[in-house]
Structure formats: structure tokens, C-alpha cells
């Protein structure tokens, strides 16, 4: 999911003002990147409540470290890097979090059987993603759900492009094995 499209100049102004301590400007940045950060954290943790807390924590860290942010790198990638690290911290703190809750996120359907089946498939996919090693999972999430380029992923996670490609390949191979049934079933 991408952030709302606004002119880059306005975002730079928000960042500069937030660096000076302007909370209103920071609220604009939170508003802009909320969905992306929540999604990254949710995909990493697999729990909606945890994701909400972790996303808030990520923005608090962004606020704390904003004075040190250098505009030469992408702000979105910098925020995603913090979000990924927060998600990993949360996972370390709450080892059992992935088993806590399965939130039914599928909208009400006219055909309840189809809805249940879809929900089960979605859950299997979610569990398969969560079963990946965090390093590969982070790369997969940023590519598949946030549509970041290899270069942006490399910058976000501070790893070489070759590592991005090999982790992505590893993650996809693992998922193909785990989700063989879903893929064959269509």
C-alpha cells in the first residue's frame, strides 16, 4: 500500500517543521504513512492489536530520531526501516503473539461457505508468511505488499541488492512449498 500522493515539496516542509518540534506537521506525516507502517508491522507480527501498538511505537521512534534524519535518503524507506525494526522487537518480546488471534478480516459475503473458505486460505497464507525467517519475511513483505523496488528494499533494510534478491527467492521458494495445496487448488 502506498502513501497518499502529495507534492514532495510539501512533505519536505512537514519533515523540516517536525524536526523543529512541530507536532501538527508530524501528525500530517503520521497520517500519510500510517497505512503503510501498520501493514508492514501487521504482516511482520501477524496480530492486529499488536500491529496497532507497534505502529504507534514506530512513529514515536520516528519522532524521537527525526532530528537526526538526513533528507538525502527517502523518508518513507527510513520510516519503514524503523517500523521493521519495531516489529522485530515486538516479535522478540511476544514470542507467542502469532498464536494469539486470528482476526476475521474478510467482509461479509452472500455465500457463507465461500467466505469461510476464503478466510481459511487467507489465514494459511498469513501463517505461511509468519513461518518465514524474519529477514526473508521483511524482504517479501516490502516487495509483495508495499511494492518497493529491490533498490528501495536494499536501502530500507540496509542490505545489498544481491541479498534482497536471494532472500526474496528463498522466501518465495519456501512459500511455494508451504502453500502448495492453495496454489494447486487455485
Amino acid at each position: 500500500m502506498t502513501a497518499t500522493t502529495i507534492p514532495a515539496g510539501i512533505e519536505c516542509e512537514w519533515i523540516a517543521r517536525a524536526q523543529q518540534g512541530d507536532r501538527q506537521a508530524f501528525a500530517e506525516l503520521v497520517q500519510r504513512y500510517r497505512a503503510g507502517v501498520v501493514n508492514v508491522v501487521y504482516r511482520m507480527c501477524g496480530d492486529a492489536d499488536l500491529a496497532e501498538d507497534a505502529a504507534q511505537e514506530a512513529f514515536i521512534r520516528v519522532w524521537q530520531h527525526l532530528p537526526r534524519y538526513q533528507p538525502r535518503s527517502s523518508f518513507r524507506n527510513w520510516v519503514y526501516r524503523i517500523a521493521t525494526n519495531v516489529a522485530l522487537d515486538v516479535l522478540r518480546r511476544e514470542r507467542d503473539a502469532t498464536d494469539i488471534e486470528i482476526v476475521p478480516l474478510v467482509a461479509a459475503q452472500s455465500n457463507p461457505e465461500a467466505a469461510v473458505e476464503r478466510s481459511e486460505r487467507a489465514d494459511r497464507v498469513r501463517q505461511a508468511v509468519l513461518a518465514l525467517a524474519p529477514a526473508s519475511r521483511a524482504v517479501l513483505i516490502l516487495r509483495e505488499y508495499e511494492a518497493l523496488s529491490y533498490k528501495e528494499i536494499a536501502e530500507t533494510l540496509d542490505i545489498p541488492m544481491g541479498t534482497v534478491m536471494s532472500r526474496l527467492n528463498y522466501a518465495r521458494t519456501q512459500l511455494r512449498e508451504t502453500l502448495k495445496g492453495c496454489l494447486e487448488g487455485g
Binding site: A48, R68, I82, L88
Partner: protein, 205 residues
């Protein structure tokens, strides 16, 4: 028969393959069923992943922003002392460079004086301005004022000095001081690196 393009398929699927290779992949896909099947599997995997819903719609955006706002702490104000310390910390490399230049200058001057004193023809020229300096007497004097720890260091220094001949102690002292300055600079560099990467570069394991 062209080789398979399996190693390029992932980048092709992600739209990351250079144009030149894209053409080669597409030409190959036109007749290779196994590579087509592989590409189809990648596409199916992406579609399947998208079936897992996002979490962004679970919470109201305005509530989320308000909650973040409530949890934000005031940033510590930049007091004058803090600002001075911060500036001082940033200027450490300049200070070290200045210290290095000072040490080098002093030692070059001292070496010059010692050289002139070691030749009988020139020794008289400076004797009226600079009193004759005896390295041994200087070190003995320093021993008297120094504590035990420093005394040991001076002993090491004088041993090292004997190795280098007539200009021994300026050279030995120069090496010790430059090493000290280099050590301080490396320490500063390490602390800068740690500070700079505290949040941004937490490794993902």
C-alpha cells in the same frame, strides 16, 4: 536452442530486469513451456499473497493519529550547555588535527635544535639563544617530577630513543604522540558511528 531463463524470471516478474534482458526473456517465453509455467507460478504466488487482507482498515486513522500524538514526549530542549557540548564534540577531529600539527611543529623545531647542537661547527651559533640541551639530563629531570607510572613510560621512551640515534627521543616521542592522537580519533569515529547507527541500522536477523 536457448538456455532457460529461470534465474531472470523473478526479476522479470518484479519488473526489475534491464530492458535488454527483458527482450531475451520474452523471446524465450514465446516457446519454452517450463519457463512459462515457472512465471505463472510466481504470478499465482503474488495473487495468493494478496488474498491475505491488510490491517490498515481496522483502526480509524484520526484515532490512530491522536493516540500517537498523546504518546509523543516533548523533545529535550537544546540548552546552551548542551549545544556547546554538541558543537565541541563535533569539533574533536579539528582539535586532534591541530594537536597533531602542533606536535609535528614542536618536534621539527626540537630536532633542528638538537641537530645543530650535535655538530661542533654550528653548536656555538645557538648557545647564546638556546642553552645546550642534554637528552639524558632532560629525562632524568622528568623522572624526578613524574610518578611511578609515568617514570616507567619515560624509561620505555628513553630505551626507544637510544634505538634511533642522535634524534632518537624526538622521533620516539613523535611516534607515541601520533599514535595517541590516532587512537583518540578512532575512538571518536567509533562513538560517532555508534551514535549515527543506533536506530537506523539495527540488524535484521
Amino acid at each position: 536452442m536457448m538456455d532457460h531463463v529461470l534465474e531472470w524470471l523473478q526479476a522479470y516478474h518484479d519488473g526489475e530486469l534491464p530492458e535488454r534482458k527483458v527482450r531475451r526473456v520474452e523471446e524465450h517465453l514465446a516457446y519454452c513451456e517450463s519457463c512459462c509455467a515457472e512465471l505463472e507460478a510466481l504470478r499465482a504466488m503474488s495473487s495468493l499473497l494478496q488474498e491475505s487482507p491488510a490491517a490498515g482498515d481496522l483502526m480509524r486513522p484520526d484515532r490512530f493519529v491522536a493516540q500517537v500524538g498523546l504518546r509523543l514526549q516533548r523533545r529535550p530542549e537544546q540548552t546552551v550547555t548542551r549545544r556547546v557540548l554538541e558543537t565541541g564534540w563535533r569539533l574533536v577531529p579539528v582539535g586532534l588535527l591541530g594537536a597533531w600539527a602542533f606536535v609535528q611543529t614542536v618536534l621539527i623545531v626540537l630536532s633542528g635544535i638538537l641537530m645543530t647542537q650535535s655538530f661542533p661547527a654550528t653548536a656555538g651559533l645557538f648557545s647564546s639563544v638556546v642553552p645546550p640541551v642534554s637528552v639524558n639530563s632532560l629525562l632524568t629531570g622528568l623522572h624526578c617530577f613524574a610518578g611511578k607510572g609515568l617514570s616507567d613510560w619515560l624509561e620505555v621512551l628513553s630505551c626507544a630513543a637510544r634505538w634511533f640515534g642522535p634524534l632518537g627521543w624526538p622521533i620516539a616521542l613523535s611516534i607515541v604522540l601520533v599514535m595517541g592522537i590516532a587512537l583518540l580519533y578512532l575512538s571518536w569515529l567509533a562513538s560517532w558511528w555508534v551514535r549515527h547507527n543506533r536506530i537506523e541500522n539495527v540488524p535484521i536477523v
